[in-house]
Symmetry: C2
């Protein structure tokens, strides 16, 4: 009998992260100060982030040890399983072998816990009192709440007001971990007060919440720093434990993936899953395809511009070179809330720009359809974000069927959908629609990028 | 470094269940017909349940093979992990070693999937079109929905109306698995119409929903049968994979539990976890204590009578000998909805009656307090039902601390609380209260037990 699930013992869990910095096809573009547009010094970033985190952003070490206090907590649920989706294969009648790596096994139900624990540990080590952060639907906010709780730190979460009001359960989860959760915009930050004065009834946005969290950290006299759940390379690097575990698990399966797939919003689960496979391609001459999947409603890689842009709406976060739809771009309220970021992790953009990875965009309704097919064959209700990876994996498997070839397809199931049942309800009632963005709207958003001096652009 | 988590490979997964029938301290009391009060023939039960299920209820085989199609699906998430709760131990400052078996790892988030799959398989094997069942909050209904979906069977779930209206997410989950969910009482059954005629605004009850599900099965001309998620021995037996896995995992841990703990409503997770340890006590002379934990609001073992009683409110289900608060007993609307059954699995009652197991009842508020302490140390949000086991485990660990002894404490974490966040919200807002049932109310409920001829009572 062939196996279904490939588990690793604690002893087999990777002890270091893979840092892609030394293996990028070209040196990373500089990070710019949002006001001066000059390359920033580490000291600027250290006001926002823990020093060890900033050092990781600059590091050219290929493998960086995972701190033991973090590994210690990982052991409660990691290594996560790699599962062969045999019933899905059968339903599709495909010769392909489909595998998924299941990050929903974490206590907060997604991969976000992996980096949250590291950042909280660095903050504790540095003597901080706690962290500020933003959250939309609450996936990242609950991961950081759990992490801060474990390291006895304060956690101040600025939660987009409309989610705070309409999706109370994630908020309850954060409270139960001991976090303070504020509906953003609040009247406790200058930027929040400014927004409220102009638009008292605003539902809030992720951009506003980021700006409030950054402001609260900067004005805390060093008591608090800011924690980010995606985009920056240290965050992606903390997630590489996913791909590295998967590689060990494929050894046990006696197979190796022809294609690895992940959904992309800011890029952390995709980078964490795929970068170790990119490294294997590079050093071992493998030819694994690497496929990023984004929603058609927020097509950053497939239709955005590769240019310098602000990380947030209020232009308080650093400027980075990335694929972007413009910092003022506000995507429609699709149900994959975690994939609504206007930009993309710069390291993923660099690989995409050099054709080391592929990207596609999938429509909302077809993505939910794929989610239900996965659930009815494999049992697990996926997060709407992760469903984008499922949709692409199913499409790849159907191509295999058509062509009569047996490929090995692997995707990262980055989270479960237990907190997304209102989205599934909308889908089952036929209330969802697709959003294909008109070209002129994208052009308009992109036209608002900051002007960067040529000397810096070409650095 | 000592390990935290003990995993088994698929190959190490138990291949058979432990059937406690041959090892009961006294022969099981007969199952009686609800109308005639005479011992029932298998043929009567086979109208309700699949033949293979009825045969299991009578079987004196000590070990019964788990069918391969069921094992095949188990492999997606089983064996479930046994985890040492090191951070909880540290927080309690106890010398005790605390372990939990995590059944929340199943796609529906609880141990209920274990028996649902078996019953669905037996139904498929027998050529049924599907099953009817009842559900309160939806834990059991979603497990059977998933199972019927895998075996391509219809699933008709009678969901207590108040839950159907107020807790829509479990209903959405069942829909997504393809089940039909009816708010009970419905006008599609005779009993439902009768209830609606008398009390049009009734919120429904589990007793009514059971009666409707039974009626719908009986009147389906053999097309559908009824599926039950607890109480009967085959159900408990299907859950013994939990305890058997745990015993193998304790071998890897190099320890053996001094006490095993489970929450009890109908008894299935408790029986499934503890019966294999009872067998070890019996054959190997071990002295593991076995502790059942129930809510003070529904104190079936600790304050109920050991007598013959109906399994449901409408007196349509068979009469069994069990600890009972009376079939007319309606416990308060506590948040551990799965522990509100008036009776208890007869096999657990037999062991309790012979002092092979202990039982305690815990108050609601203190139980939620224990749940939060567990969540803040171990990360996982427990189901309110499972929190009863946590409360008892913590209390045992505190006794160890007081006495300065290092005992090994193991409990079954039967499910996660992702669908119970409204209950946690109520707790965090200080809205929960304890319910300690007045003696006269219990006496009144117990006074309504059916009269059973002495000849049968003494069989």
């Amino acid at each position: 009998m062939e196996s279904t699930k490939f588990v690793l013992t604690e002893e087999e869990m990777p002890k270091s992260w893979y840092n892609i910095n030394p293996d990028l096809p070209s040196p990373p573009a500089p990070i710019l100060h949002p006001a001066t547009k000059e390359p920033v010094e580490p000291a600027f970033l250290e006001v926002l982030f823990p020093k060890r985190f900033v050092a990781e952003a600059m590091s050219m070490e290929r493998f960086i040890e995972i701190p033991e206090p973090v590994l210690d907590i990982y052991r409660t649920w990691r290594p996560t399983p790699l599962v062969r989706a045999r019933r899905l294969e059968k339903a599709l009648d495909t010769p392909a072998h489909i595998y998924y790596k299941y990050e929903g096994a974490s206590p907060v139900g997604s991969h976000k816990a992996n980096t949250a624990l590291v950042q909280a540990f660095y903050g504790k080590e540095e003597g901080l009192d706690g962290f500020t952060t933003e959250t939309g639907a609450g996936q990242w906010g609950s991961a950081l709440s759990m992490a801060c709780n474990f390291f006895d730190l304060e956690c101040h979460v600025y939660m987009v007001r409309v989610s705070y009001d309409l999706k109370p359960y994630r908020r309850v989860l954060m409270h139960a971990y001991g976090a303070e959760v504020f509906p953003s915009p609040t009247d406790s930050t200058e930027f929040g007060r400014q927004v409220l004065a102009e638009t008292p009834d605003t539902p809030g946005s992720l951009g506003i919440a980021i700006s409030e969290a950054v402001e609260a950290a900067v004005k805390s006299n060093g008591r608090l720093k800011y924690s980010l759940g995606s985009v920056l390379n240290p965050v992606l690097m903390h997630q590489t434990i996913i791909g590295q575990e998967a590689i060990k698990q494929f050894e046990k399966a006696g197979e190796y993936p022809d294609v690895v797939i992940g959904c992309v919003g800011g890029g952390s689960n995709f980078g964490g899953f795929s970068f170790p496979f990119y490294y294997q391609n590079k050093v071992n001459g493998y030819n694994t395809r690497i496929l990023a999947v984004e929603p058609q409603a927020c097509p950053t890689l497939t239709r955005g511009l590769y240019a310098f842009d602000y990380g947030d709406t209020a232009k308080m976060a650093p400027i980075v070179k990335m694929h972007t739809l413009g910092h003022s771009f506000i995507p429609p309220a699709i149900h994959a809330g975690g994939l609504r970021y206007h930009g993309m992790a710069p390291h993923i953009c660099a690989l995409y720009d050099h054709n080391f990875i592929e990207a596609i965009a999938t429509p909302q309704v077809g993505t939910f359809e794929a989610a239900i097919q996965f659930m009815q064959t494999e049992g697990i209700l996926p997060a709407p974000e992760s469903a984008h990876a499922i949709k692409a994996a199913i499409d790849e498997a159907l191509v295999c069927k058509e062509e009569g070839v047996c490929k090995v397809i692997a995707f990262n199931l980055s989270g479960h959908g237990h907190f997304d049942l209102s989205s599934y309800q909308a889908y089952l009632q036929g209330d969802l629609e697709d959003y294909d963005y008109p070209e002129d709207k994208i052009k308009a958003a992109i036209s608002q990028l900051p002007e960067i001096p040529e000397a810096i652009r070409l650095m």
